[in-house]
Amino acid sequence: MPDSLTDAATADSRAITYSGGSGDPVIELCGVEKHYQMGSFLVKALRGIDLKIFPGDYISILGPSGCGKSTMLNILGCLDQPSIGQYMLNGQDVSNLTDDDLSQVRGKELGFIFQSYNLIQQLSVVENIEVPLYYQGVPEKDSREIAVSLAEKVGLGTRLDHKPTELSGGQQQRVAIARALSNDPSVILADEATGNLDSKSGGDILEIFDQLNADGKTLIMITHDEAMAERTSRVIRLKDGDIAFDTYTSEQ
């Protein structure tokens, strides 16, 4: 397995200076609620979440379906905004940003890894990794360099010009990881990242996550797999739109 995964994207040393569970929180939720109007009913998907996530945290968010996991992910990922409450990301209040500013925050601060990989079919491996950099306006030459070295780090150095359809599920998910790392995000959000994979490839992916966290990356995994949760240093359980359980499990 590759060792320092973040080296490719990080010219700065943030990953090294931040160590797990210390310093200022990278994410801070204050009384966050999310309401949906379903006909005449008002559904409260999240009911007053207070949460602090620190740089270097390795978190799994667990819960039965319908507990608000997806809503939580959408809000953490700045894809959606809280109805009530405040969301501070890296000290910036992102709960009331314009659509353009939210896009900017997603592109700069967040990395996404999805259950179904979500690669763009018409683009090659390298081009997929470059997408976030493209929207950040990174010149082509630099972004190509970053993408190639990230592809090499996730073990796809020989498949740079392959299309997603020519790759196995595990390989596609590794491309997605490289893509999530390309803009050197503060937080990586993984939504059931191993859900579509067999146990062997899933294990490989999880090992990459361990490695990323060991390099100082903040990782948040949404999952319903208890075995996966055991690998993480902090487990948050949601129930009926609220945090039922939040604890650091590992020795740190």
Binding site: G77, L79, D80, R106, V131, G137, E140
Partner: protein, 435 residues
């Protein structure tokens, strides 16, 4: 405006590359979609070129007649039985007369010059070689008035006209037929019992097939096989009555002039003069045995026809481009729906709404622009093929392909903006969840 402003050149280039890739993924679909524009643009260019060529040809023919000329022709009356007296004498008398000519010269204002002419049809001989042709009696200033160039030698002079000299000028096709190998100038040509010395060769009449009178004229003139001689000489040698022998019967007709062309001093005076001549002739010729052609009038009418033609063509082209544009819009809307998830992914990875708008707009414009380029190619090829196979004159004006291409790009923008905005307005969360 911010849309274009926020787009640096290098990002534009990459967006174009991306657009090409996306379109390339569905080659057949893209081709079929662009086809509407291809045909639209091609039809605009080729119809304009063919229309322009046709009207140019017509106008050229009319201009060859001389825009300041009024052309009068004698026409055999259709209903001969009414002229009972003439029938008894077995000589059919009709057409323009010396009297008409004198009256026109004396009374119609603005008439500068007149060119009368008279024809005798018979075989023309060079020694034992003969051609069915026409002796064409006219005046010395005929070439100048009719804009016809001498090819060799000279036209006969006023002196020769006054002296009733037996000199002649051959049309080019006649010269080729009678003297295929020899130098014609200095040789003699015989018609009936008269001999004429060749002094020059003149180009063929470009307006043989011109304007409206082409049918009867080309039938009469034996395809331009004309020997031009002074009109006075013609009268001397062949008299005033023409005999035509046909199978089983013979016909005699007396025509003083077959054609009279009047040159008017100024273009503004042409229409009033034409009116005056018309009144004059109506009085003298109750049976309508003449025909008046006013090239200027024809020219104006041709221009008006061309205008109408252009409007009709323009509407057809506009409709076909509109249909092409709707086709593109339809496909782009389907594409946007199909690529909902891609849009969601891009939004999650930091794409702003305007990035998405730009992406789809560029794709649409690429599609319609490529269609436009193909259409220009086809549209330029069609008139060339028409010219090559049908021998028609076609004129591709430089602005026509430019305009057609510009319109195709504009159609891309116009019909692309709505699908692009729809793509951008998608909720990222829902777009990501889309299957």
């Amino acid at each position: 405006m911010e849309l274009i402003h926020g787009m640096s050149l290098f990002r534009l280039k990459r967006s174009v590359v991306l657009g090409v890739k996306s379109l390339w993924m569905h080659k057949l679909r893209s081709l079929l979609t662009a086809l509407g524009i291809v045909f639209g643009v091609a039809s605009v260019i080729s119809m304009l070129a063919i229309g322009e060529g046709a009207s140019y040809e017509a106008q050229q023919q009319i201009k060859d007649l001389g825009s300041q000329n009024i052309i009068l022709e004698s026409v055999k009356p259709t209903n001969t039985t009414t002229a009972g007296e003439q029938e008894r004498s077995l000589i059919l008398e009709y057409g323009l007369t010396y009297n008409d000519l004198a009256q026109i010269q004396a009374t119609v204002p603005g008439v500068q010059l007149t060119v009368p002419s008279r024809k005798v049809k018979d075989f023309l001989w060079n020694k034992s070689q003969s051609v069915d042709g026409t002796a064409f009696g006219t005046v010395a200033w005929y070439p100048k008035m009719k804009n016809r160039e001498m090819i060799r030698g000279r036209f006969f002079t006023e002196m020769e006209m006054k002296g009733r000299s037996p000199v002649c000028v051959l049309t080019q096709s006649l010269s080729r037929n009678l003297f295929p190998l020899d130098e014609p100038i200095g040789q003699t040509v015989r018609m009936q019992t008269s001999y004429f010395r060749v002094v020059g060769v003149i180009e063929d009449n470009p307006s043989v097939a011109a304007a409206e009178s082409e049918l009867d004229r080309s039938a009469e003139s034996s395809d331009g096989m004309e020997m031009m001689i002074p009109i006075s000489t013609l009268e001397d040698h062949f008299g005033e009555v023409l005999f035509k022998y046909r199978s089983g019967s013979f016909e005699a007709e007396k025509v003083e002039f077959h054609e009279v062309t009047a040159r008017i001093d100024h273009a503004d005076n042409v229409m009033p003069a034409a009116l005056a001549i018309q009144h004059l002739l109506e009085r003298n010729h109750k049976d309508g045995d003449y025909k008046m052609t006013v090239p200027l009038d024809l020219l104006r009418r041709a221009e008006r026809t061309k205008q109408i033609f252009n409007i009709v063509l323009g509407s057809i082209a506009a409709i076909s481009l509109l249909v092409g544009g709707i086709g593109i819009m339809n496909i782009m809307l389907a594409t946007v729906t199909e690529r909902t998830r891609e849009i969601g992914i891009r939004r999650a990875l930091g794409a702003k709404k305007k990035d998405i708008v730009m992406q789809f707009l560029i794709e649409t414009v690429l599609l319609s622009g490529a269609g436009g380029i193909l259409g220009v190619g086809v549209g330029v090829a069609i008139p060339m093929a028409v010219t090559y196979f049908a021998g028609m004159v076609t004129i591709i004006q430089f602005w026509a392909p430019t305009l057609a291409f510009t319109i195709s790009v504009m159609i891309g923008v116009l019909f692309g903006i709505y699908p692009a905005i729809r793509a951008a307005e998608m909720n990222p969360v829902e777009a990501l969840r889309h299957e």
